[in-house]
């Protein structure tokens, strides 16, 4: 987590985010499932996952995946970054023994009619040479020093 405060003027389209690498263990998978209150056995019981789901092991659940993407974004923006919208397309599962690598690129920078600064991003998660999740996100960041997206309410917040 950086302490820097990203502002809209410091970001430009095409900018790449630093990669984030996460080695996945069975504990990783179970921690995420329990933290998201997902009790389904394919996220903690290897026998069930293999015999009933036909997968090679337990696998990372969707809310855990979302929490990783949120962390990846706010590691970059700092705490002033406020997530407005996120879209996922899950293409493949992530298993213990995999190394997840998160990638991101700024697709656009804009200020809306309410004066809120937005960074639009393409994000993707790879394991080896395979993309397992594709994601688009819009995160509000301060337009300039002194601005704070978290204070926006009602019609001033248009995600």
């Amino acid at each position: 987590m950086t302490d820097t405060k990203l502002t809209l003027e410091s970001v430009s389209a095409g900018q790449e985010l630093p990669e984030l690498r996460i080695p996945v263990t069975p504990t990783t998978v179970v921690l995420g499932a329990l933290a998201s209150r997902d009790w389904r056995p394919m996220h903690h019981d290897k026998d069930f996952a293999v015999e009933r789901n036909g997968t090679k092991h337990v696998f990372v659940n969707t809310p855990h995946n979302a929490a990783y993407f949120e962390r990846y974004l706010t590691d970059w923006t700092g705490p002033h970054g406020r997530l407005g919208k996120i879209r996922f397309r899950m293409k493949d599962s992530v298993f213990p023994g995999d190394e997840m690598v998160f990638h991101g690129r700024v697709s656009g920078v804009r200020e809306d009619e309410a004066g809120c600064g937005w960074v639009d991003l393409d994000l993707w998660l790879t394991v080896g040479d395979k993309t397992t999740t594709e994601c688009n996100a819009s995160v509000a960041v301060p337009v300039r020093e002194g601005d704070n997206p978290w204070t926006r309410r009602g019609d001033d917040w248009r995600p």
Binding site: M1, T28, L31, G32, L34, A35, S36, R37, D38, W39, T62, P63, H64, A66, A67, Y68, F69, E70, R71, T74, D75, P79, H80, R82, L83, G84, K85, I86, R87, F88, R89, M90, N148, W150, T151, R153, W157, P159
Partner: protein, 174 residues
């Protein structure tokens, strides 16, 4: 193959646009789960760990936006509950009523509005937005549907909307 699917029953078509399964969360939004979620992904954002930062930036302690659905997942067990509660029940209803035994989620979009604060008791409901004509993909023949899940706080303010695209299908013959 597509003509093999039965037509959409009229009462299922009538679900489109209707609020279904209004549910109040089983517990107040609380910090223990926020810490568990942040720890599970090593999220060190001080907004969730440092009360002063949370007060200065957001007017108090809030939950990470991506936790929005966590507050509605039912307990694994509860007294007097005889059936396992299902999140996204409309999805399972559609599988059953459209006679499509398999289903996958292909797309999930979440829009975040008011921050979720500690002590909030959230309410949710599901709205079926659309059901497609029969489609054939590599998985089989079935129908796509879009379900919105709305979330509001105890003041009636929207805290977010999730939109799921599902594909219910019959497996392609091998």
């Amino acid at each position: 193959m597509s003509e093999e699917l039965p037509p959409i029953p009229d009462d299922v078509s009538a679900w489109i646009g209707e609020q279904r399964y209004e549910t109040v969360g089983e517990f107040d939004v609380e910090r223990g789960y926020v810490f568990s979620s942040c720890a599970s992904v090593e999220n060190g954002n001080p907004l969730y760990w440092d009360e002063k930062v949370a007060q200065d930036l957001a007017g108090g302690v809030i939950a990470p936006p991506s936790m929005i659905s966590v507050w509605f997942r039912p307990h694994y067990w509860a007294p007097n509950r005889t059936e396992q509660a299902q999140p996204l029940q409309v999805h399972f209803d559609l599988k059953e009523r459209l006679e499509l035994p398999e289903a996958v989620m292909t797309d999930n979009t979440i829009v975040f509005r008011e921050p979720v604060r500690m002590g909030d008791r959230l309410k949710t409901w599901q709205v079926l937005r659309s059901i497609s004509e029969p489609k054939t993909t590599k998985l089989g023949t079935g129908r796509f549907w879009v379900i919105d899940v709305e979330y509001v706080n105890q003041k009636g303010e929207s805290v977010g909307t999730e939109s799921y695209t599902g594909f219910g299908y019959r497996r392609a013959a091998r």
